[in-house]
Chain length 308, copies 3
């Protein structure tokens, strides 16, 4: 019943193209059934999904919680300040405990890069990376690809995507760069010099310290969320200055293709990463991303337990 | 399947009598089935209820959570200090996100008067006001009416209700005044002069700065919860003084009708709003209110999704 | 349908042997079905389980939450800083409220010894003690007995159990001593002189202020969790000193029987109560305890509502 070895989703790195496409295709079906449910789905009816969040992320946690519940799973949320981890328990022991409770899927959010990979080595459960520090956020990349495909009505082959903002700290940027390239798009990265990737060549994408050249002719513009705590660390100028130079205005957006769409992983800092009129423009696909998120995570959960 | 336009429950203001009575009648059935469930209800089996609480209110949140679960809905709790709102996201963007996750019903508690109405204009989902600051708390009024009807074994026509306490800040007082009047009762309001409504005439109910005249001959006595934070704001004398003058003792209760019942929205400050022996007296219907609350909210959720 | 009077699980004290064995036998079945579910269980399909936690205990709360959900119950978590109790509501009024919402089972964790017994006197619901201060933690004792039985492949008659650590404050020690004795085992207690039970004779078990004599020839070694807050209270020497004298090393474990197993209620302080190599040794049954916990709590919930 359970597959021989669990099928984790730890990152886009190492994922093959056919797996990515199969997940997007499965999500297509869930996207439709979420809008017009014909009945309660029982796909995960005897399964347990544990949301293990070592960082607050209401949006991602809620999306996974809904995805699990809509598939009929028992979903349990763990984490935050009341968890055993705040009693000094190690990640290893926390995961061993969750595993012993017979979790089928562990969805983990953790500030340390690589934490989900570490966890995957010590559990019978399938592990889904819901964001590990500056490393990967694969379901975000998948939902972004889903949104692009749906909005542009075509595959990603030959598209140009611009990813703009804090590239250094962003798991979203990293996973998206990898997935866009895997699906045949080219990627350009733009951000303040202090926030460019340490090893720009590693991702195989050109980097810019201004956003204009990245935007020119792009089909997809992804704006990254600014973490306000970077300001104190002297990595960022003032928000006003950031917004002026790296924020997306209608004027800058005009450099992209006429049919270009704008993405943001949320929650937005309106007036910082995007001007209000861009956030609410016809080009903005930000709410489609949220809707896609639940469908994609249903596909991922199904995949993890061998039902996809 | 979904009604053409969502059926919100934003307040008692604007509600017609037949809707109010239909909700109370539907709640009658749920009250019975909660006591003796014949089987799991599947009325909301493919629906998603999102509890969006911008203020802590365990009692109300739990009541809605249970109501949703007993109808078979997927229920997700959002809010508190770990939510995106604490990352500076606007109410509008938070609601747009919840909407995009395909919530069918958004139950919202918010400190700002009118927040649910604002939300209702920007979502496909049905919106239920679970308390908006000093404005309305319609499900509380409905459960109070349900309790009165059940306890007195008759409709509300011709009844006299006294609502006592902090009338200025209470959404409970406002919604109850409107609903009691809608259902044919007359209302008297009593409280400290600093806590009377700013525009006493607007509610169409006489106000008193002592509770005795309000109590005389009343069928229903509603005591409001004192928010201790009003003390610091110099709006209240000491708790001891408040209790002596505005608290409900057996002696004061004797002014009401012999069959009068006592209500309180909870949680009670025993010895402040009510004397211990009143809280636990045969006249007290406070626990019936709690039980009615789940049944009424089941009726409301059913109504919102067009299943009532 | 509901039994005439609710079947509480308040403590091991007063439990008869046949009830304990029936619960362990019922848990056997759930242990198997948790590993290989044949389908969704509906045993508690119309029941409501309320987790009322006045102290944080993620592990125990999650275990009960999963147990309820796997039986098909509606499970609601209450407690923590956002609950009504933080608004000054009394335990009695909180419980009356939960009761009025038609909880079928109230699972309560409370710092005050005897709180669950007090609650049981004022509710229609079945009450399960999930730990009441220094008093009892009966489901922990049951899951420990389950683990011993399963791991050693035999009943507990004639076994020798050593319970080591902070015996003074531990509800785990007390419930386990009572249950081990009820099931025919003998118990030895060992801990620092400041942390021995005040009335050592009351439990009918010899006490030692060194762990070596307790370990000699034992079949079961239970290490208790050290609460770091005891350090400030001058009840404990430094952690290093505690570990050296009362921590379980491989060397000390060698005093027990060759087939001896090691238990710990978790979360562990590695290097304090147990050396790392003991925690992870073949003798350690700590993760089996966690797995047993869900099965035992399913048996307890079923028992409480008359389905066992």
């Amino acid at each position: 019943m359970t597959p021989a070895s669990p099928r984790h989703l730890l990152g886009i790195e190492g994922m093959d193209r056919s797996t990515a496409l199969a997940l997007l295709d499965a999500a297509d079906g869930f996207f439709v059934s979420n809008r017009n449910p014909a009945g309660k789905l029982g796909t995960l009816g005897t399964k347990t999904v544990m949301n293990l969040f070592f960082e607050a992320s209401t949006r991602t946690r809620t999306s996974f919680e809904l995805a699990g519940k809509r598939l009929g799973a028992d979903v349990v949320n763990l984490g935050g300040s009341s968890s055993s981890t705040s009693k000094g328990e190690s990640l290893r022991d926390t995961v061993a405990t969750v595993d012993a409770m017979r979790a089928d899927v562990i969805v983990i959010r953790h500030p340390a890069s690589g934490a989900p990979h570490y966890v995957a080595r010590s559990t019978r459960a399938a592990v889904v990376n819901a964001g590990d520090g500056m490393h990967e956020h694969p379901t975000q990349a998948l939902l972004d690809a889903f949104t692009i495909r749906k909005r542009l009505g075509r595959g990603l082959e030959g598209l140009v995507g611009a990813i703009c903002g804090d590239l250094l700290h962003s798991s979203v940027a990293r996973s998206n760069t990898l997935l866009l390239q895997l699906l045949g798009a080219t990627v350009r990265l733009a951000g303040p010099r202090t926030l460019l990737p340490r090893d720009p060549g590693a991702l195989g994408a050109p980097t810019f310290d201004r956003i204009e050249p990245a935007l020119e002719g792009a089909h997809v513009v992804m704006m990254l969320r600014i973490q306000r705590e970077r300001l104190g660390a002297a990595l960022l100028p003032s928000l006003r200055e950031y917004s002026r130079v790296f924020g997306l205005s209608r004027q800058k957006l005009a450099l992209a293709r006429p049919e270009a769409i704008v993405l943001h992983p949320g929650p937005m800092n309106r007036g910082v990463e995007l001007a209000d009129d861009v956030a609410d423009a016809a080009e903005s696909a930000i709410l489609e991303q949220v809707e896609a998120g639940v469908a994609v995570r249903m596909a991922v959960l199904g995949h993890c337990v061998g039902k996809s």
